[in-house]
């Protein structure tokens, strides 16, 4: 080789020259920048000193010297400069010193680069860069970081309170924390972020507890939104991005989660007021703000649900009190009002759901659950299912109290169907509806077929055919009856000798579709007996294998009353007519004589006689003339009866059917449960008990909600009847037996 070995001191002397120059540059003294040549010399010196043969390879010593150089620089220059500075000034100095240090390390690393290539790998020691940072870490950072943290936090606090601060400075200062982690975030997190988050929590906790007392709900939300915006801005300006999620979560928690109920339930400005005053923007803000918090919407939806529940329940209570306070002239008038109120409530909140709450399913669920609470209450003994059926009935009657346009009727019926989804006992509704439909079809001439069919098809769509199939049959029956009537008229025209001498219409009903009616073995007046016989003859020419059962309680008769003042046409039920016609043959009849002639039960007869002698129209005179019927009374035709009208309807108050409807529905439920269980077992073949229960409930949910005991009882019964069996080895599994 022929090159001479460089002695250590000699070589180091060369390096020292370069290092001193570097220090001068860093100190800001007038100096020329390093030229390529200067750099090459320094680099080559190191190179040579490392490649000499032992004992002249000085790698290790150079490595140590590198470190010592930095340490010494820090100790003699950097630390003193920081010593007597405070607050922002200290921060500034630190940032500057750190920048300088990095430059120094950069240059020194370049000079000593050769060590990085082989020595550090050979000896498994940290790279020069790392050493550089570690020196600063050990000698400066460890010493000052608590103080720096204090200064930074107090500046942040200042800024939060509204003062302007030097954001760039903070950014640089916090970057030191990050860089001190040598690739990990732990120094940033432990030496700054942890306390920062804690102080943030404290800060917003204080603010929240103040604002919640002083501010209205909308104002509080505005402030919260502002704070969150500012904190996000803070992160992007000088905090490390990894802090954002944690920071926002803490702020949201302190401002919006801790006080959520107090906030939204504020007496004068909370959710209920926002709804009352239609504050769409504030409500939307509420949604927006809470949507960003994990599970935040749950909190709002909960308050929403409670609010709606309270409103709905208040309507129910109103109706309950109104009916019990005064004897209402319109029977069920208060219940009509109740349904109207609830429908309106529904409309309102559906609108809010769409406009403010983005139709979010949490709110849909909240609305549903709220409605389910008050749509299943009984008002004055009347179950909600009945109330709803009565409401629909009222609308569908010819001349329902307000003359409503077809459009409005359609809309309202649509809403009724929607409301039904919240009623649990849909089968009870169906039965009441069916009973009222029967009365409409049979007594309320001029019902609008289109509306009747329209609501049935809506019900079918929402809840399935089982609910409506019988009712559809009823409507068809009535249409067919009209056709039948024309052919009956034709039959009478062709057979004039069998004509009974009375105007006579028959409606034939299919038994399975219509509600069951009590059958009375009434002794008909002879005029009517003839009519029945004639129709029977006609009917047998049409169909052979059908049996006709006559339900006279559903019939109507028009009777001419030859009263002294003037003749009046009486529109009465056939049963009432049967009573009245008795008086064509006898002037005076005792109660027991009437019983004997008509063959009716006491309850029914008393009702009839009451309607004819003790109610609004006294067609018969009763002896004694007390207010109620007793079995010792006697009756006479009242020849002096009169009214300003020429034709009057003598009403017969209907029997209260409520108890029977509920009884009938209860009787049918076990069969429905059976059918559902068998259907499920047939398709699954094998199923666990839990699943069977939950699927049965689901299948039946369109009609009613069966309780678990009822289902278990049916399962037991089906096991006895060999439809299914329990699995031998798994006692919670059931098997279908084909």
């Amino acid at each position: 080789m022929g090159c001479e070995n460089i002695e250590f001191d000699q070589g180091w002397g060369e390096m020292e020259k370069g290092i001193e120059k570097l220090k001068r540059i860093l100190a800001g003294e007038k100096e020329t920048p390093f030229t390529s040549r200067e750099y090459m010399t320094l680099y080559t010196t190191i190179y040579n000193m490392c490649n000499q043969k032992a004992p002249h390879d000085y790698s290790e010593q150079l490595y140590d010297k590198y470190k010592k150089t930095l340490d010494e620089y820090i100790t003699s220059i950097v630390l003193p400069s920081l010593k007597d500075k405070h607050d922002e000034f200290m921060l500034r100095e630190l940032v500057e010193r750190w920048l300088n240090h990095k430059i120094m390390v950069k240059w020194l690393t370049r000079f000593f680069h050769y060590l990085d290539r082989y020595f550090i790998i050979q000896k498994s020691v940290p790279a020069l860069n790392e050493v550089g940072t570690t020196c600063f870490l050990n000698l400066v950072y460890e010493d000052v970081h608590p103080t720096v943290q204090d200064i930074v936090l107090s500046l942040i606090d200042k800024e939060r309170e509204g003062d302007q601060i030097d954001r760039a400075l903070l950014k640089n200062a916090l970057e030191i924390f990050v860089e001190m982690g040598l690739g990990q975030m732990n120094r940033y997190q432990d030496d700054f972020e942890a306390r920062f988050l804690q102080e943030t929590t404290n800060y917003y906790s204080r603010k929240a507890s103040k604002w919640i007392e002083e501010d209205s709900c909308p104002d509080y939300l505005l402030k919260s939104e502002e704070c969150l915006k500012k904190e996000v801005d803070r992160v992007s300006s000088y905090l490390h991005s990894s802090s954002e999620t944690k920071l926002i979560k803490k702020v949201q928690h302190e401002l919006l989660v801790v006080y959520v109920n107090q906030l939204l339930e504020k007496e004068d400005s909370g959710i209920k007021v926002l709804f009352r005053d239609d504050k769409v923007d504030d409500l939307s803000r509420t949604y927006r703000v809470y949507n960003k918090i994990s599970q935040g919407l749950d909190l709002v939806a909960n308050v929403f649900k409670q609010h709606v529940t309270i409103e709905g329940t208040a309507f129910v209570q109103q109706a309950e009190e109104a009916t019990s306070n005064q004897a209402s002239n319109t029977p069920g008038g208060h219940e009509q009002v109740l349904v109207k109120n609830i429908l309106e409530l529904h409309d309102n909140y559906m609108t809010y759901l769409n406009s403010c709450f983005q139709n979010h399913n949490l709110f849909q669920k909240a609305l549903k659950e709220a409605f389910e609470v008050f749509c299943n209450k009984t008002v004055n003994g009347s179950p909600s299912a009945e109330i709803l059926a009565s409401f629909a009935d009222h609308i569908l009657r010819k001349g329902g109290s307000e003359k409503l346009s077809d459009e409005v009727i359609e809309e309202t019926l649509e809403k009724v169907v929607k409301l039904l989804q919240y009623v649990i006992d849909k089968d009870v509704f169906a039965e009441f509806y069916r009973k009222k439909l029967a009365r409409r079809l049979l007594f309320d001439r001029g019902t609008n077929d289109d509306h009747e069919r329209s609501i049935l098809s809506k019900l079918k769509q929402q809840f399935g055919a089982p609910l409506t199939s019988k009712m559809e049959g009823m409507v068809t029956d009535v249409v067919l009856a009209k056709e039948h009537q024309s052919s009956f008229q034709e039959y009478l025209r062709n057979n004039p000798d069998v004509h009974p001498g009375l105007d006579f219409t028959v409606t034939v009903l299919t038994t399975g579709f219509w509600p069951s009616y009590k059958w009375f073995d009434l002794s008909l007046p002879s005029e009517m007996v003839k009519c029945v016989k004639v129709f029977k003859g006609f009917y047998e020419t049409k169909t052979k294998h059908r049996k006709l059962t006559w339900i006279f309680s559903l019939g109507t008769s028009h009777i001419n009353g030859k009263f002294e003042p003037k003749p009046i046409e009486l529109i009465v039920s056939t049963h009432q007519a049967a009573v009245l016609l008795l008086f064509n043959a006898s002037e005076r009849l005792s109660y027991s004589e009437i019983v004997a002639q008509l063959n009716l039960a006491h309850d029914d007869l008393i009702r009839l006689l009451h309607s004819l002698s003790c109610a609004k129209y006294k067609i018969l005179n009763k002896e004694p003339s007390s207010k109620s019927i007793s079995q010792s009374d006697s009756f006479k035709f009242n020849p002096n009866f009169t009214d300003k009208m020429r034709r009057i309807k003598v009403p017969l108050p209907p029997v209260d059917e409520r108890k029977k409807v509920i009884e009938d529905v209860d009787k049918d439920r076990p069969y429905a449960i059976d059918a559902a269980i068998v259907r499920i077992m047939k398709s699954r073949k094998v199923i666990t008990h839990q699943q069977l229960i939950s699927e049965t409930i689901e299948q039946l949910s369109r009609m009613f909600k069966p309780n678990i005991k009822a289902i278990k009882k049916r399962i037991e019964d089906l096991i006895t009847r060999d439809y299914m069996e329990r699995d031998r080895d798994n006692s919670h599994m059931f098997r279908y037996l084909a």
Partner: protein, 209 residues
């Protein structure tokens, strides 16, 4: 060769003869099987009570179809399976039989059999409460005295059920085996237990509250 066959078959015939002779001692000749009277006589000769559970076990071993009757086939098959052909041997076999029934592999089978044995009418699926109480006492009384006493008390006072079906029956045993008594802590009515046991547990919990 022929000689051997005839000897062994003679021996077989001889063994069967003894069993048949025993059968005829108790059988009703016009019926061709042992009837309740015959069984009573058998019991007294064996020195056990008519209502003793060991007779039920014997019926199980014989796979007797009809309560109170043993057919000749059942008698032959059963006694051969027991390996007895005389009254004294049968007496001894009874105590062994008890142990055999108590083996877990047999016990459930015996328990289920006990219920079936009570279905005396054709197409009968359920047994009346009174008989069930007696049967429970007989079959489970010794092993699960406190549970059975309490359950029987309940069955007698409740009104929901007049008869018990086989599913409910099998679950009585499960109940005794699985549910801690008398606290009933691990009983969960939302599980597949029959409703009658749900009601029983409710009754018990009310009683002790």
């Amino acid at each position: 060769m022929l000689l051997f066959v005839s000897v062994s078959s003679k021996a077989k015939i001889k063994g069967l003869e003894k069993i048949d002779r025993l059968f005829n001692t108790y059988a009703n000749s016009s019926l061709g099987m042992i009837d309740p009277e015959g069984i009573e006589a058998l019991c007294s000769d064996l020195g056990v009570d008519y209502t003793d559970v060991r007779i039920l076990m014997l019926a199980w071993k014989l796979k007797a179809e009809k309560q109170g009757y043993f057919t000749q086939d059942e008698w032959q098959t059963g006694l051969k399976a027991l390996g007895v052909d005389s009254l004294s041997k049968l007496k001894k076999a009874l105590s062994d039989l008890e142990k055999e029934v108590e083996k877990p592999s047999n016990y459930e089978d015996f328990y289920t059999y006990a219920f079936r044995y009570c279905l005396t009418e054709e197409k009968q699926k359920s047994v009346d409460i009174e008989s069930i109480c007696e049967l429970l006492n007989l079959v489970l009384g010794v092993q699960f005295r406190p549970q059975i006493d309490s359950l029987i008390e309940y069955l007698k006072v409740q009104n929901d059920y007049k008869v018990i079906n086989s599913d409910q029956w099998i679950n009585f045993l499960r109940f005794c085996k699985e549910i801690s008594f008398p606290d009933l802590e691990n009983y969960d009515a939302t599980q597949a237990w029959p409703l009658i046991l749900d009601n029983y547990v409710e009754w018990m919990r009310e009683k002790h509250s």
